[in-house]
């Protein structure tokens, strides 16, 4: 019985100490460890994500390509038409005008923001120090009913309507598996500016040794991923602004 007691005590101690001793860096390290290993995340060159976006009544199939060099492209299918809806080729970011369905360049601040996203992908936490980001463990919080570590990441300031503004996000890491289950970001422009939008992420599954969340949903939209294609072959035409069109 004594042995039993001491084991129980040991277990409780182990649980409590592991809980207390967490630092933001340990949590991040555990996250990378549990989702495939930091080295493998670093090796990633790009990814093609295929899925369906749900907004109100609409289900929009999409393909999104994100490259570690910052290039990205989103192709959607709307009423039988497959088209590149928005893209960034490393210099020019553009999207389609909803009236003409023709490509138009985004404003300079939006393009600048795209350029900054290079650092956020595949994760803002990956080598965050080299990127000039800082992270902070805000504390333990219950969110979506689960125990989490709330971590703040402070990124490069962004220009919004001509003024440079601080840029932070909050990630809630599940205390059980050390994966983020919620991301909170503030609306950056418009009359809702400052309002926090919460995105719940889940359905983590393994793809070639890395774990990706196959579901992301916020009050505005939800995304169901069907496939993650690692290091895909890509055509530069997917990213480039279609000149003269």
């Amino acid at each position: 019985m004594n042995a039993l007691k001491s084991i129980l005590v040991a277990i409780i101690l182990a649980i409590t100490t592991s809980f207390q001793a967490q630092t933001a860096d340990e949590i991040i390290n555990n996250y990378f460890e549990n989702t495939g290993g930091k080295e493998n995340w670093e090796k990633l060159k790009g990814i093609k994500m295929t899925g369906v976006m749900k907004m109100q009544n609409m289900e929009i199939p999409f393909e999104q390509i994100m490259m570690t060099d910052g290039r990205q492209s989103t192709t959607i299918e709307l009423q039988g038409n497959k088209m590149i809806w928005a893209a960034y080729d490393g210099e020019t970011s553009w999207s389609r005008n909803q009236m003409t369905m023709e490509a138009e360049k985004n404003d300079n601040e939006a393009t600048e923001k795209m350029k900054n996203l290079i650092k956020d992908w595949p994760s803002p936490f990956l080598n965050y120090k080299e990127k000039g980001y800082s992270i902070e463990l805000i504390g333990n919080e219950t969110i979506d009913g689960a125990d989490t570590f709330k971590i703040k990441v402070t990124k490069d300031p962004i220009m919004i309507n001509g003024k440079s503004e601080p840029n932070i996000s909050h990630y809630y890491f599940d205390t059980e598996n050390y994966v983020p289950i919620v991301i909170e970001e503030a609306v950056q422009d418009g009359p809702m500016k400052g309002k926090t939008i919460k995105m719940s992420i889940s359905d983590y599954q393994e793809v070639e040794g890395l774990y990706f969340p196959f579901s992301q949903s916020s009050e505005l939209q939800s995304i169901d991923f069907k496939e993650f294609d690692i290091d895909p072959e890509v055509d530069q035409a997917l990213f480039a602004f279609p000149e003269g069109k």
């Binding site: 042995a3 749900k54 219950t142 979506d144 009913g145 009359p191 889940s202």
Partner: protein
């Protein structure tokens, strides 16, 4: 062996533990994604305490509010968002660190304009990320923090002015200083337990010079005192080490509250407004406080110093200054003369000048934030600050139900719980002036009762006739004057619709909606003359009636027995009659652990047992901040406390659940608390629910919506709390539990709504969708989880996005299936986005989590008020289904055409010899396609002439959105288009038989591969 044994015993131990231990879920673990809805309103907004701007970015401005936390604008005051939801919502001061203004913000909690109804604070907070996260920096017992001054050259050196407790002695007062950024604090100026610092300022050019206004003040439940021998103005020139009174030129005798300001552009010039018996008014010093001269004693400057003691000097011009007041006063000659600010809500508490342009002024009032672009001459209200301060709310039984309530200095209002396009400012209708309190709807007539402060008016308002009558009970000849509380109680009978109660020190009853009154009690209060102060205020007499005491405060008629009436008084009596008022028993002596004479804030007579009642006591006006909640099950002979350590803040209101008597809802100074086990454990509800003071709670009987009247964040609703009633230990041990739901109504509505601009607040509507409600034992994070709806035959109707939270999950289904596949054209056809509605009936819910499947059902019903017959519905459904099929048929046809055109083009490119054959295919198909879908133009003014797809999708969409039988025009139109579709298919078949067959034969001959097209079924499921 030994190890095995230990592991086995451990396993057994855990099992036993699991079985024996009750599962108690708290907070978010229990509530899951059950979420509150904040509906404002913002049209009357609420009291603003302190405004603060950013020193270098004129777009950023902060507003500290009386009960709604801190709001931040990043667009020059056009719109604000809340940044302080999780902490005490009563704010004294907001300060931006001048050396790190983008990030470091300090907030001192606890309102400093010390009216009778103020909330309390709980300390000092700091954010280092522009308000995203906050850390408590001490001062837990300060109650009210008036000032934060940061050395502009050294962010670690900070002075805090603590006004302190309003209703009791406290040594947590005076001026505190840190030199290490808030890690440690020293009290550097303290007078006594009654005197606090109401303003601390530092010389902007020499931060070693500090001025402090100290104020002696106290409130009791029945009175207020401003002033005394300890009120004084102090100056330090050595960073707070030593202090001197600087009164040279001040009036003789006791002083009261002193407003204080320094000119930023010339720190030698200091202004103070002095409260005193003689020679009160604005004083100016031109030598940094050494000598003072009285300049002006206008009403606008000296009125109600406890409520208005803020002077603000133009940052660029030392002779332009504004004093808060009833209307606000501005001087452009250094304080010699003043005029009122432009017209806006009365009661001006704070003003800030824009950093670059002094013509731009922001003003905080009892009715929100106003902006001026012309130096205060005209004022424009910010329309998106939903910080309204309700004293009381009630609901009616209409559909949608309405909410009624009265507000601090903002009258009484009623408005809908739902409105087409959202609940807008224009949906709210006024029903009383002054300060509004209780507003009640007659149970069966279109009559509303409302009142203003101290029952100065009690209105009976006839909605249809737009007619008002004052029905206030009056004293009877030869009897005592009536004493009505500032927030006078009224009640409508559950048993006789025209019966109406009011409480003074007596309980009054009317059987004819207030035309005639009868007293049915003796004086039910202590009638203690010591608590009936008629000359409240101190140095400045302040007779508003707000301090009238020894009055009845709450009336509760039993919903079960009309002869049982409970009455609670502000001086601590809990009276009950069981014979309709013939005899009364004061039961308060039977309550254990309750300090004597504690204010009875609310009594709730149970709907389950007539012997049962709940009583909530509030001692904060004597400095007692503990919650007191009691229950009796024997008419008050015995009472038991329902308070646990889970409850934060003193309590004001309790609501019993109508169905499950173990569920209680409690409103405290810091939010909403819910118990599902009769008070053994309480959980704070925080899903979109700020830590604001909940003054009154009502539960709407038809919808099971919990409606909260908050004193700082308007009306907050938790729609349909019925899932809480079904939480049992059996449910909590299951991995997934579907809650049974009543049938959901497919509402037959399609109106217009939404007339607000993007900067006007709009309250969110309730969701009228069907709801799939389940409990998840664990948050779903790994592996696939899906949720779909199937018909009775197991055919999938639609996929939904499942909730994955631990606790209660609510998933909405808008009664729609998937939209059809639409033919590809050059542009979009908007009708094609229409998804068909399902028919009423029972559907299967299938939740798949990993390898496991969980099933339940959901039932939909037609709108009971619908005029549509079942026969007509069948015609509509059939036509809609046919048009849906037509849409997909056309989509497949166009797909085949496109595939063939593309293939022919490819062949022609590879094999120029084929050109004659391929171009024939292409030409024929292109010509056909042009009649089927638009192939040119855009979605706006360059739109092409509509073709079959556009016409078909329009009639498809119209017919699909109908509930009734389609019109004969629609059916004829459908027929015409179906004939065109049929002909088009024939035309395609012809081309297929001739040109395409020819091409295929050519390909076979030339060893090419003829095109293979997927089947229609494959195409649809693609």
């Amino acid at each position: 062996m030994n190890n095995k044994f230990i592991i086995a015993s451990l396993a057994i131990l855990f099992c036993i533990n699991l079985q024996a231990q009750e599962i108690v879920l708290k907070g978010k673990e229990l509530f899951g994604n059950l979420k509150a809805r904040q509906i404002g309103p913002a049209l009357m907004s609420g009291r603003i305490i302190d405004l603060e701007n950013h020193p270098t970015n004129d777009r950023i401005i902060y507003a500290g509010t009386a009960g709604g936390g801190v709001w931040k604008s990043s667009n020059g005051g056009a719109s604000f968002s809340s940044v302080f939801d999780e902490h005490a919502q009563s704010i004294g001061v907001v300060k931006v660190d001048p050396t790190d203004p983008d990030n470091t913000i300090w907030v001192g909690t606890g309102e400093i304009w010390t009216r009778n109804s103020v909330s309390i604070g709980d300390g000092l907070y700091k954010s280092t990320d522009g308000g995203a996260n906050w850390k408590k920096m001490g001062f837990e017992n300060s109650e009210r923090i008036s000032s934060i001054q940061i050395n502009p050259k050294n962010s670690n050196e900070i002075y805090i002015g603590v006004l302190g407790a309003l209703w009791s002695d406290s040594s947590d007062r005076g001026v505190y200083k840190t030199i290490d950024g808030g890690k440690t604090w020293n009290k550097i100026l303290y007078i006594n337990q009654k005197t606090g610092a109401n303003e601390v300022i530092i010389d902007p050019k020499n931060p070693n010079i500090v001025y402090v206004a100290m104020w002696e003040f106290r409130r009791t439940p029945w009175g207020f005192n401003s002033g005394g021998p300890n009120s004084a103005l102090y100056k330090s020139t050595d960073a707070g080490k030593t202090w001197n009174k600087i009164h040279n030129g001040f009036p003789e005798g006791d002083l009261g509250r002193l407003a204080l300001a320094i000119s930023p552009s010339n720190p030698q010039i200091i202004y103070t407004v002095i409260e005193s018996k003689e020679n009160k008014g604005l004083y100016r010093s031109d030598d940094a406080g050494a000598n003072w001269k009285l300049l002006n004693g206008d009403f606008g400057l000296v009125v109600r110093p406890f409520y208005f003691s803020r002077i603000v000097v133009d940052p660029k011009n030392p002779d332009i200054l504004i004093k808060g007041g009833l209307f606000g006063s501005i001087s452009r000659d250094g304080g010699k003369t003043f005029k009122n600010l432009g017209s806006m809500h009365a009661d001006i508490h704070d003003i800030v000048f824009d950093i670059n342009n002094s013509d731009r002024i922001y003003v905080g009032t009892d009715g929100g934030v106003y902006r001026s672009w012309d130096g205060g001459a005209t004022m424009d209200m910010v329309d998106n600050l939903p910080i309204s301060q309700f004293y009381h709310i009630s609901v009616d039984n209409e559909e949608p139900y309405n909410i009624y309530g009265g507000l601090q200095d903002n009258g009484s209002w009623w408005g809908p719980s739902s409105s087409p396009g959202g609940i807008e400012a224009r949906d709210w209708k006024p029903v009383g002036y002054g300060d509004g309190f209780r507003v009640l709807r007659h149970p069966s007539k279109k009559i509303i009762y409302s009142e203003m402060q101290g029952a100065q008016n009690v209105w009976r308002y006839d909605i249809d006739r737009n007619y008002t009558k004052n029905i206030k009970p009056l004293p009877i000849k030869g009897e005592a004057e009536l004493r009505f509380n500032w927030n006078a109680p009224m009640a409508v009978s559950n048993h006789h619709p025209d019966r109406f109660y009011m409480g003074s020190q007596f309980l009054h009853i009317s059987e004819d909606m207030g035309d005639n009154w009868k007293k049915i009690s003796p004086d039910l209060t202590t009638n203690d003359p010591a608590k009936q102060d008629k000359e409240s205020g101190g140095l400045s007499v302040d007779k508003s009636g707000a301090e009238t005491h020894t009055t009845i405060f709450t009336i509760a008629e039993s919903p079960i027995d009309q002869n049982i009436i409970w009455v609670g008084t502000d001086d601590g009596n809990v009276q009950v009659t069981q014979d309709g008022g013939k005899s009364w028993t004061n039961t308060v002596a039977n309550i254990q652990g309750l300090p004597k004479n504690t204010w009875v804030y609310h009594i709730e007579a149970s709907t389950h047992n007539k012997e049962t009642a709940y009583a909530v006591f509030d001692g904060h006006t004597t400095g007692d901040m503990k919650p007191y909640v009691y229950k009796t099950t024997d008419f008050g002979k015995t009472w038991s406390s329902l308070v646990t350590n889970d409850i934060v803040g003193f309590a004001r209101n309790i609501q019993e659940d109508y169905v499950n008597q173990d569920i209680l809802y409690l409103g405290t100074e810091f939010g909403l608390f819910i118990t599902i086990d009769g008070g053994k454990h309480w959980s704070r509800f925080t899903n979109n629910m700020p830590a604001t003071a909940v003054h009154f709670i009502d539960l709407q009987k038809k919808t099971d919506d919990l409606v909260l009247g908050t004193h700082g964040r308007g009306i907050i609703i938790i729609d349909d709390i019925s899932p809480l009633r079904k939480i049992t230990q059996e449910v909590l041990v299951k991995d997934i539990h579907f809650f049974e739901t009543p049938p959901f109504t497919i509402k037959e509505e399609s109106g217009f709504g939404g007339g607000s601009t993007e900067l006007q607040f709009k309250g969110e509507n309730p969701n009228t969708n069907a709801k799939i409600i389940y409990y998840l034992k664990k948050r779903h994070t790994f592996g696939k989880m899906t949720l779909s709806i199937q018909d009775q035959n197991g055919n999938k109707v639609v996929d939904l996005v499942p909730g994955k939270s631990k606790g209660i999950n609510i998933v909405n289904w808008n009664f729609r299936k998937k939209a059809p596949k639409v033919a590809a054209g050059k542009t979009l056809t908007f009708g094609g986005f229409t998804a068909p509605r399902v028919a009423a009936g029972t559907y299967n819910i299938v939740l798949t989590k990993g390898k496991n499947q969980y099933k339940s059902t959901i039932t939909l019903q037609n709108d009971p008020i619908s005029l549509v017959s079942e026969k007509d519905r069948i015609v509509q459904r059939k036509a809609a289904q046919q048009l849906f099929d037509d849409m997909q048929e056309l989509a497949y046809l166009v797909y085949q055409i496109d595939q063939n055109i593309q293939s022919a083009k490819n062949v022609s490119k590879k094999d120029p010899a084929s050109q004659k054959i391929t171009s024939s295919v292409i030409n024929q198909l292109v010509a056909l396609k042009k009649t089927l879908v638009v192939t040119t133009g855009d979605n706006y003014v360059a739109e092409a002439e509509p073709q079959l797809r556009e016409k078909l999708s329009e009639v498809y969409s119209d017919v699909t959105n109908l509930f009734e039988k389609p019109s004969s025009a629609q059916l004829e139109n459908k027929e015409v288009l179906e004939t065109r579709l049929h002909n088009a298919k024939e035309a395609y078949k012809n081309i297929e038989n001739k040109q395409i067959t020819k091409l295929n034969k050519y390909l076979e001959k030339t060893a090419g591969t003829p095109l293979k097209i997927i089947t229609k079924e494959e195409f649809i499921n693609k």
